[in-house]
Structures are given as C-alpha cells and as structure tokens.
C-alpha cells in the first residue's frame, strides 16, 4: 500500500506486516487500490493511491482531517467513484466491469451485487428512523440476501445479544442513546455477513462516556471474527489495539505505514510525529 513515489524503496504495504513483501505473504490481497485518484473540483483528495489489504486484516487509517481517509472508505462502499485508477475486491473489480477484456465503469446492478460483500458503519449511525431496531437489522438480509424472515430475526436477535441490546429490539432508533444506536448500526452491518467492514469515525459523534462501550464491542468483533476491517479513527488507543497495520495519510498520500507498535512508538516521518503529538 505504499503510495509514496518519493520513496521508491518503500515495501508494498499489505496489512499483514508492512515489512513483508506481497509475494512473501503467499496470500492474495482482498482489497487492492491501483493508482486511485479522487478529486473534488480542483482539490485532489487522493493522489494515485496504491493500497493492498489482505483477508482478515485490520487496517487503520489515521491522519489529519481532509487527508483522504474517509474518501477511501466511501470509494470502497461505492458511495463515490474514482476519477482514475481501479479498486478490486478479491478477483473482481469494484469500480469497473470487465467486458471482454475491456474495463468499463461498473453499472448500478453490478455495483450492488459486489458491494453485498462490504458493510459500513457511519459516523452518524444512519439507522432507518422509520423502522424498529429489529427491522433495521433484518431489512437487508431479507430483501437483499433473500433470507427467510424468521431466520433473519433469529440472526438479528443473536447480533443484538452480541451488542448487548436485546432489551431494545422493539424500540425506534430515536429512543436509543447515540452509543446504543451505533451498536445497532454495527449489528445491522454484521447481519449481512460482509467480508469487509468499513468503520468511518464511528465514535466521533458520540458523547465521551459512550465511546468506550462501542470501542469495546469493536475490539471483541475484531478479535473474534476473521472479518477484514478498514477503519478511520481518531482513537489512537483503539487503533493500537485492533490494528495489524496503521497507515498515516497526509494530503492524499500514504506517507507511512506499518504495525501499530512501529507507527505509534517510532514513527519515521516528521508529519506522523507531529500528527500523533497533536492528537494525544
């Protein structure tokens, strides 16, 4: 996932161990960004980004706001389209369709099919306010995966148990605290059994006393499942706990990456040092 052309010797970051080369890991990457550029007007948010994430790995993106971290998640979720470059999930393109050897921009139908493998938890929860908690969770399994309603409800109850909200399944989201809503949102994303879970500053909108509960839950999930996680956060302790790899972003580039111990204790880049001292 080295994106920094100015240091050509940077090994390819791979989410397992930044020092190990991609070939040595013997595994194929699950997520692959190739020269992905995204601009908003004249502002280049991502600049020819290359990135690989291996299955089951937890990658945390850190960096100052506006550095392009959230854009990566939004590109993965197909909420945005890259201006240049390609993104692959497994052996299929996320952004493009392979039509007889020619890559064409993905159609809606194709995007919808492939993004079933990706789940996302948003900063603002984005629960459906018109549905009770249980139906928030069962809606997509029933109407996207074609799950039987009873089976979906059974699974939703298990997930609510996991997130500790069984007692609230019959409530509307507006009747829950922010922390509870976010835990429902996590259960909702997990109900789709995604290969990849995208976490976009999931605690930033929470009152301080509610942050710990959500982070503890995510720690449990990170440690007890083989789900691949891509996480944007300002919670450095959390990043240190769950990450296999931390990537430091600045101005649309990955300027440094590596295992959390390395990034947090011995950052090489001056910008990383500045950023870390600012957020601590």
């Amino acid at each position: 996932m080295s994106a920094d052309r100015s240091t050509p010797n940077t090994p390819p970051a791979d989410g397992t161990d930044a020092a190990a080369s991609a070939s040595a890991s013997g595994q194929t990457e699950l997520i692959r960004f190739d020269k992905v550029t995204k601009r908003f007007g004249s502002h280049t948010v991502l600049d020819a980004l290359d990135m690989k994430v291996y299955p089951g790995k937890h990658v945390t993106l850190i960096g100052p706001s506006g550095s392009g971290k959230t854009t990566i998640l939004r590109l993965m979720m197909t909420l945005l389209k890259p201006d240049e470059g390609t993104i692959k999930l497994g052996d299929r393109y996320l952004t493009h369709e392979d039509k007889g050897g020619k890559l064409v921009p993905a159609s809606d139908r194709y995007s919808r099919e492939i993004r079933k493998n990706i789940g996302m938890v948003f900063q603002q929860f984005n629960l459906f306010p018109n549905m009770k908690v249980l139906r928030n969770i069962t809606e997509a399994p029933v109407h996207v995966l074609g799950m039987d309603k009873d089976a979906a409800e059974q699974r939703a109850r298990e997930l609510l148990d996991l997130v500790g909200l069984t007692a609230h399944l019959d409530k509307y989201p507006s009747q829950l605290s922010g922390g509870q809503q976010q835990r429902v949102a996590i259960a909702r994303a997990l109900a789709m059994r995604p290969q990849v879970l995208l976490l976009d500053e999931v605690t930033s909108a929470l009152d301080p006393e509610l942050v710990a509960g959500v982070l503890d839950l995510l720690r449990d999930i990170a440690h007890s499942t083989d789900i691949t996680m891509l996480c944007v956060t300002h919670e450095m302790n959390f990043a240190r706990d769950i990450s296999d790899c931390v990537m430091m972003f600045d101005a649309g580039r990955v300027i440094e990456f590596g295992p959390p111990e390395q990034i947090f204790t011995a950052p090489e880049h001056e910008r990383t040092r500045e950023f870390l001292s600012a957020v601590r």
């Binding site: 979720m77 197909t78 909420l79 809606d108 919808r112 099919e113 993004r115 079933k116 990706i118 789940g119 996302m120 948003f122 603002q124 984005n126 629960l127 459906f128 306010p129 018109n130 549905m131 809606e139 997509a140 109407h143 996207v144 507006s174 909702r188 994303a189 789709m192």
Partner: protein, 216 residues
C-alpha cells in the same frame, strides 16, 4: 333583513346532498392529487430526460392555469374527443389533477429533506432501488410532509365550489338551486358558509395536532 329559520329547515334536505357531494369530490380528488403528485415527483427525479421533461412541462402548465379553465376544458372539450364523463367525475379529475401539481412539489421537498445518510445506508446495505424508495425514503419523506399535504386538502375543500361551474351540485350548487327556487338567499348561503368553516376549521386543528406528532 330577516333571517328565516324555517328556510334553513327547508334547505337542509338538499343541503345534506350537497355536503355529501362536496365530501365525495374532496375525498376522491385528494386520492388523485396524492397519487398523481407522487408519480410526478418520482418522474421528475428520473435519470431519463424523456420522462422528466414532459412531466415538468405538464405540471408547470397545470399549475399556472386557473382551475376553472381546466374544469371547463375537461367538461366541454374532452367530449369532443370522445371522452364523456359525468360532471362529478370530471370535477374530481380536474380538482385532483390541479392539486397533484402542488402535492408533487410537497413530495419533492419531502424527498429532498431525507438526509443523504439514509441513501448511503441503503447503498451500504445493497438495498434494491425499489426497496430503498418504498421502505426507507418515502416513509420518511411522507411523514415529514403529511401536514403540508393536509393543507392542500383544506385548500381543495375551498376550491370545491368551482365544480358548480360545470354543474356539480355540491354545497354551493344546492344553495344556488334552492335560492333560485325560493328566492331566499341569505339562509342557504349562510348555511353553506358555516358548513365550510365547520369542516375546514376542525380539519386544520387536526392537522396542527398531526404536525406536532409527526414533525420532530
């Protein structure tokens, strides 16, 4: 001027018929206005120009011409094209069509008011397009605009006497007929005026209560 209560009594039997016709026109007209308005609102969000453009043209045209002209057009011109409907049916269609161009705007603002995060959550869950509309967007949009839609029902009520112009015997029509037969004018028109208030005012109170409940 003397107010003759016995004239009121004499007017009442036909007046009730008029009330019934008014309420009928209002109910059916509202159904058309709500249904068609939603169709227009969705069509105007279509990615296809061939859908968007004619709908925009039609709704602008209908909204910017008087209801009375539209009623006359439907009633006198449509039969020339072989479409003959009863006066009430014509009136209901005219009223519904006219107000659908307003409800379309109401729906549009309701749909625009659903936060972008709702669309994003629907995408993140891969919900199909139709399901996103029916289960996520429209329930929230309609809840938001229900009071505004209700206001148009009250406006429609107040426009319903125009149907008299094409011969529908709603409340005003019955009053007019009664007065031309009995030469008593004050009583029937007073009854009709009171009736409009008696329907419209509680309705608007109901709407305000609804608004307090829905818009949070």
């Amino acid at each position: 001027m003397k107010f003759d209560w016995s004239a009121v009594g004499a007017f009442l039997p036909t007046f009730w018929n008029g009330v019934l016709v008014t309420l009928q026109a209002l109910a059916l007209g509202s159904l058309i206005a709500f249904g068609l308005g939603l169709v227009w609102a969705l069509a105007q969000r279509s990615s296809l120009k061939v859908v968007r453009w004619p709908v925009t043209a039609l709704t602008e045209f209908v909204r910017n011409t008087p209801l009375l002209v539209q009623l006359f057009f439907l009633f006198y011109v449509m039969p020339e094209w072989g479409v003959t409907l009863s006066a009430l049916a014509t009136g209901v269609i005219g009223l519904g069509l006219h107000y659908s161009t307003y409800t379309a705007e109401v729906y549009r603002s309701g749909i625009d008011g659903v936060p972008a995060g709702q669309w994003e959550a629907a995408i993140a869950l891969s919900l199909p397009r139709r399901r996103t509309w029916t289960a996520v967007i429209l329930p929230q949009a309609i809840r938001r605009v229900a009071p505004a839609l209700g206001n148009y029902v009250i406006a429609m009520l107040k426009d319903s006497p125009m149907l008299f112009a094409i011969g529908v015997l709603e409340m005003l029509g019955e009053a007019r007929q009664f007065s031309s037969q009995t030469f008593q004018t004050v009583e029937p028109y007073t009854v009709v005026g009171v009736a409009f208030i008696a329907i419209a005012y509680p309705a608007s109170l109901l709407l305000r209560a609804l608004e307090r409940r829905l818009v949070r």
